[in-house]
Symmetry: C2
Subunit: 428 residues, 2 copies
């Protein structure tokens, strides 16, 4: 079929009539499918069930330090868990603090602490007239929700295939003292699947911020979340790059096992410079006597090391790869060459990012819903939930089965075509 934009009014009208018939059929099927949830399916979680057998009533509950993990203490985590999480990030273990089950909480607390107490002695952000964060888009809605919650102005930065537009990032960061942070998902980015290029990472490390309390929020959520064995993205290790560039304190890195072991019961960690960690621990110690070290021990003994984790993630990949491929195959077959949208073909992570024709995303999501297919709300990948082009749609293939994903994508492409045809007709 030829690109829709080259069609005459008559051809478009004919298409529309045909698509409406198909849509009515699809609606008639009473589907109930969900492509919105970036969460593991039960089979992935089942693979982690051996975690439950690691610690038994007769287990030695002491960690490497010889400290009883069941009791209070060890604010920054047990050594074996530090090593494990450090290796996930490629950072030295002494640069790591291990927390509870949520890396989102670490990020929230980091922003909250900066708002109330500043960063390493800087003015608390709540005392400033204006605080701004840079937000590469499309991006992760929960990042944006945190900054919005604290009244931080969000400035969108377009994503390229190499990461955020670094010319823009450098300009804002070096010129505006109100810019205090940037949200990054540097590997298999949410939702675009992009991994930042080496040059991008080096340019991040070499930033010359106007604000001395500017920090890069480096959410390395998908560090080991490859889909393929033979095709994998690699990400330059940011901490050492920052150190080399004379910027050791500029970055906070985060990761978790939420999509490795259990989404609700994993462990999370951050890596940063000794000076940042010391600053953080000063307030951390007021908030808790320590995180759940028993779960840290359980994870460290189960995975043993990052190799153990990578082997585990190969099994996850075997489950979710067919789902990604099912979506991509339908997209290619049904939309290839039609000029109705572009989409990413990620090598890892949890999402496929689809860019529809401008002004169509909301309508496509609504149409899908009408036919029983739930998508992430259009706009969710932008600050304030507002996609200025109304174009980006995030597809989350992991939770349903491959067959369900194929069926859901059939409905999706139908809705893309129908909404696009209507748009093109309206523009004639």
């Amino acid at each position: 079929m030829k690109p829709y934009k080259e069609m005459t009014r008559e051809e478009l009208e004919a298409q529309k009539a045909e698509l409406e018939k198909q849509f009515a059929d699809a609606k008639g099927k009473g589907l109930q499918l969900d492509m919105s949830r970036g969460k593991p399916e039960p089979a992935q979680l089942d693979m982690g069930m051996a975690l439950m057998d690691v610690l038994k009533s007769d287990s030695d509950m002491k960690c490497m330090e010889g400290i009883d993990t069941r009791n209070y203490g060890l604010l920054d985590g047990i050594t074996e868990a530090k090593h494990l999480m450090a290796d996930v990030m490629g950072a030295p273990a002494e640069n790591v603090i291990v927390f509870g089950n949520s890396s989102l909480s670490i990020m929230y607390d980091m922003v909250s602490r900066s708002v109330t107490h500043g960063v390493m002695g800087s003015t608390p952000w709540c005392k400033l007239d204006k605080v701004k964060f840079l937000c590469p888009v499309p991006g992760y809605d929960r990042h944006f929700a945190i900054t919005q919650h604290f009244g931080i102005e969000m400035i969108t930065i377009p994503m390229t295939s190499d990461g955020p537009d670094m010319d823009l990032v450098e300009k804002y960061v070096s010129e505006d003292e109100a810019v205090k942070g940037i949200w990054c998902v540097p590997k298999y980015s949410n939702p675009s699947g992009v991994t930042y290029s080496d040059e991008t990472v080096k340019r991040f490390a070499a930033l010359k911020p106007a604000a001395k309390d500017f920090r890069i929020y480096w959410d390395n959520a998908y560090a080991v979340h490859h889909l393929y064995e033979d095709k994998q993205d690699t990400l330059l290790e940011i901490l050492s790059e920052c150190e080399k560039a004379g910027n050791p304190d500029i970055v906070y890195e985060f990761c978790s096992t939420s999509k490795i072991s259990f989404s609700g019961a994993g462990i999370a960690a951050m890596a940063s410079s000794p000076a940042n960690l010391a600053d953080i621990k000063k307030t951390l110690t007021l908030r808790t006597i320590g995180y759940d070290k028993v779960n840290q021990l359980r994870h460290a003994r189960f995975f043993k090391n990052v190799e153990g984790m990578l082997a585990h993630m190969k099994k996850h990949a075997d489950i979710i790869r067919p789902k990604f491929e099912a979506v991509l195959s339908v997209l290619e077959k049904e939309l290839g060459g039609l000029g109705l949208g572009e989409w990413t073909k990620p090598l890892g992570g949890y999402f496929i990012s689809f860019d529809a024709m401008d002004g169509c995303a909301k309508e496509i999501v609504a149409k899908c819903k009408e036919a029983g297919v739930v998508l992430t709300g259009a706009g969710a990948t932008f600050p304030y939930g507002k996609d200025p082009k109304d174009s980006n749609i995030r597809i989350a293939p992991t939770y349903p089965t491959a067959e369900e994903m194929a069926a859901a994508t059939d409905v999706f492409v139908l809705c893309v075509k129908l909404v696009s045809v209507e748009k093109l007709l309206a523009q004639l």
Copy 2:
């Protein structure tokens, strides 16, 4: 022996010489004892080891709602954990949110949230010139550290055997709009062991705050931590009292299993009115997708209900009761009738509170340290670490053995006598 205050100079001098000899002997023993740590001893933790066998690789990981505890979701906790923690507090399960492993974190976050976002739409505290908290003393140093961290002015309220001095509390709360909270440990209080009387609880519930965002921070940390089966304090349930008094939103209640299951790997909870919980959940959802539900499930299945928990706590009591009794017996035998101090004889909790003669506490703690016995720093039980009378010392008998506690208390009473004699001589 007669009270020291009735002794002549000669008698005091003779005492002093004798005590100095004993002190030199004690120092010579090279003791290394610690009465400072309010934490369970390993045998208590061993009793919880069956927790580790509750969930195995073939366990059903669904909670009562039929939701997979391993995955994301259920922000406010699983129903069975809500019921368990509700029963600990005596509150209805629908008034409960179950969190991660630390109730201190819940309290910290509550204050932090009020600072940045206010309480139910009130002005964020960071926008106010002055915010004050009432602090019953002696009290819990970590409470005071949180309020100090956020620049909140702390006003001390003397403790009586019925709880805080309620005349003072009522006066401050009703007259000063800057008073936004009060820290309470209502049962087996840290460190005095006092349980608030029914009248005290009723007066709390009936407070008429000048500030509509005033809240009682009700840290029910020792709800089931009885030392005896036949002698137990009871605490009136605060939520229903507040509701009866027309003050449903005035209280936040907190508890945890830190001193029930594992200090580092338990579960924590709060109870409050539906309106407060709704307000809290609005921001909680930005910080996390959910707490560790697997550990919640493990705890709920292990204890089954509050009766199971009470049976478990009886075993704890059997371990720690002899330690309390060892301390109290030495105190009574060596200091009884001498007029050198007063101490509490709690029926539960984790501490004995000792009030030395005014101006002696720091010196006693220092002397003990010299002889190898570590005590909680004098002043720690007061805001800013400053005990105006320099009198209160917190004794934590749970971690060492009963024999060690007796030996440590021998040193303690010796130091009390020696420092008191010196004080009395200086006053002559």
